[in-house]
């Protein structure tokens, strides 16, 4: 009797579990279909395409690793890697430091602070083509506002967007202006730090710098980690600014890998070659992300560790 009722019970449970699973799949179906249709499928097709020559007019022709070999010998490819690398190496750390600094300032308890928060976040909201065009005007060598202001303090500004030594710098300045998103995430992290910890450190005689160094920084290291990963991924894919403000010029000084890829795909219709380029970019992003993840035990401090210690 006992045996029997138990098997009925477990079978009934199995049935209920199966029904729950069915509902789960219904709920998850948009994501499952989306993953197959817009991510996994295209990823595989793109890898295949990267070994072909294809221009929409005729069927894809298998050419093995020819695209990758061609890329290796292409100066412009190396130039695009160099531009994207310099841009990322400068703009990501600079952006992180500035964003954290601003977040700390914006975390002070001052009346009307939300006005400042809104102002600093604003550029993130209205980024896009319009603002990129505004930057073209701002960096205008003769009449732009930056050179006008520089002129007022006796400095002769460069011809930003026409001078190949300065064009990339101009784009980095543009990116720094939009640091508000990163700043807001830091702010969220700062607000998650328990007030008692700061007070405890203060009672223990820690100065401002020591508090920052030994309490704040470790406690927001997971936020820094998040921002670093997103920052690298974002910087390696920047397109709108590069396309609208300088369009790769002058003399390829701002030929970002994304602009290079766009040209091969949609101007020259080299779909095979651009798929190969995309895969190289993917491998670079993946390697860097894995490196950051690997390094995280050294410098990222998780909440659970703190609870474990206390």
């Amino acid at each position: 009797m006992v045996q029997e009722s138990r098997t009925i019970e477990s079978r009934r449970l199995g049935k209920r579990e199966r029904r729950e699973a069915m509902h789960a799949y219904v709920f998850m179906s948009p994501v499952i279909i989306g993953l197959l249709l817009f991510t996994l499928g295209p990823v595989i097709v793109s890898l295949g395409l990267s070994f072909t020559e294809y221009n929409l007019l005729s069927d894809p022709k298998w050419i093995g690793v020819e695209n990758y070999i061609e890329m290796y010998g292409e100066d412009l490819f190396w130039q695009s890697l160099r531009v994207s690398a310099i841009y990322s190496v400068v703009s990501v750390p600079l952006g992180l430091v500035l964003a954290l600094f601003l977040a700390i300032l914006l975390n002070q308890k001052i009346r009307g602070m939300y006005v400042f928060r809104a102002i600093y976040y604003l550029p993130t909201v209205i980024s896009g083509v319009g603002v990129a065009m505004l930057w073209r005007w701002i960096f205008n060598g003769q009449y732009g506002v930056i050179n006008t202001l520089l002129h007022n303090i006796g400095v002769k500004g460069p011809n930003w967007l026409i001078d190949e030594n300065w064009a990339l710098t101009a784009l980095i300045i543009t990116s720094i202006w939009g640091v508000g998103g990163t700043m807001l995430i830091f702010l969220a992290g700062l607000q998650g730090i328990p007030q008692e910890l700061m007070e405890a450190a203060e009672i223990d005689g820690a100065g401002r710098w020591q508090q920052f160094r030994h309490v704040t920084l470790p406690l927001i290291s997971h936020v820094t980690f998040f921002n670093l990963v997103l920052g690298i991924i974002g910087a390696l894919q920047v397109f709108t600014d590069a396309y609208v403000i300088t369009n790769g010029g002058p003399n390829n000084a701002t030929m970002f890998i994304s602009v290079y890829l766009y040209r091969h795909a949609f101007i020259y219709l080299n779909f095979g070659y651009s798929a190969a380029l995309a895969w190289v970019l993917f491998m670079i992003v993946l390697t860097l992300t894995l490196l950051v993840f690997r390094s995280s035990p050294i410098w990222v401090f998780y909440e659970s560790e703190r609870q474990g210690k206390s």
Binding site: E17, E20, A21, H23, A24, Y25, F27, M28, S29, P30, V31, G34, L35, L37, F38, P42, V43, S46, L49, L102, L105, Q108, K109, Y114, A118, I119, Y121, L122, V125, I126, S127, G128, V129, G130, V131, M133, L134, W135, W137, I138, Q142, Y143, V145, T148, H151, A188, E202, V223, T240, V244, S258, L261, A265, F266, S274, A275, A278, L281, F282, V285
Partner: protein, 288 residues
Amino acid sequence: MHTPIRWFRRRSSQQLLMAIGAALLLLVGGAVIMVPFLWMISTSLKQAGEVYLMPPIWVPSDLQWVNFVTAWTRLNFSLYASNTFLIVSTVMIGTLFSASFAAYGFARLRAPGRDFIFMLLLATLMLPGAVTLVPTYLMFNKIGWVNTFLPLIAPAFFGNAFFVFLMRQFYITIPRELEESAMMDGATIYQIWWHIMLPLSGPVLATIAVFTFVGTYNDFFTPLIYLSDDTMHTIAVALTYFQGSAKIGPKMHLLMAAVSISVIPPLVLFLFAQRYFVRGIVTTGIKG
């Protein structure tokens, strides 16, 4: 008795100093942030002859509000605005529905492979868009969707990874009791999602709506590659055509008037949603 009081006083005066210092720095930084905007507005209100004056004037002698009207009509803004809002509103519906629906499955229902699918979804956040770009374009081209709004709209109905994550993180903070009692009363799981979970998710849905609006409105790349017909453009793409077009030529004041108009929708939305929005990110942003 003496020391604690003195300690307290020193602390508060030090804090006051910090606050003043922070406020001053923020004022200076805020001014720097605002310079491009002021420059844009200043230029947009100038007469043609005042744009290229040296040294430049910040406040035009005679404010040319008519520039906005000229820019609007000459650049056929009505058409591009209606295209843009058709796309943005459909994308918002799709994104809100798919993210809130799918996230419920990940948050509450058990099924084999669920966590694997979720990890896979999160991993796609690291995938450069360029990798899927060409095959996706070829797919839409094959089914004849290029030069329609569909390639811009359809993907929104299949769950954006980041928003699904955000919704799921929010759902798991809601106590289960409500759902359990509804279940007792005989509600189906879909009714529970629609009648209980969604009404509780206001702040997150609003955050996702703002993000989606801003992202889609400002998106340049997708419309650039999919919409080739001049009458199909969105505001973002149309603006780049104005830049070099004979319609306005090198008339910077009209271009800046057009740019000023183009930033109004996200700006207004942000100002309305600002407190809600910032709070939404601050509370749901990056826990867990």
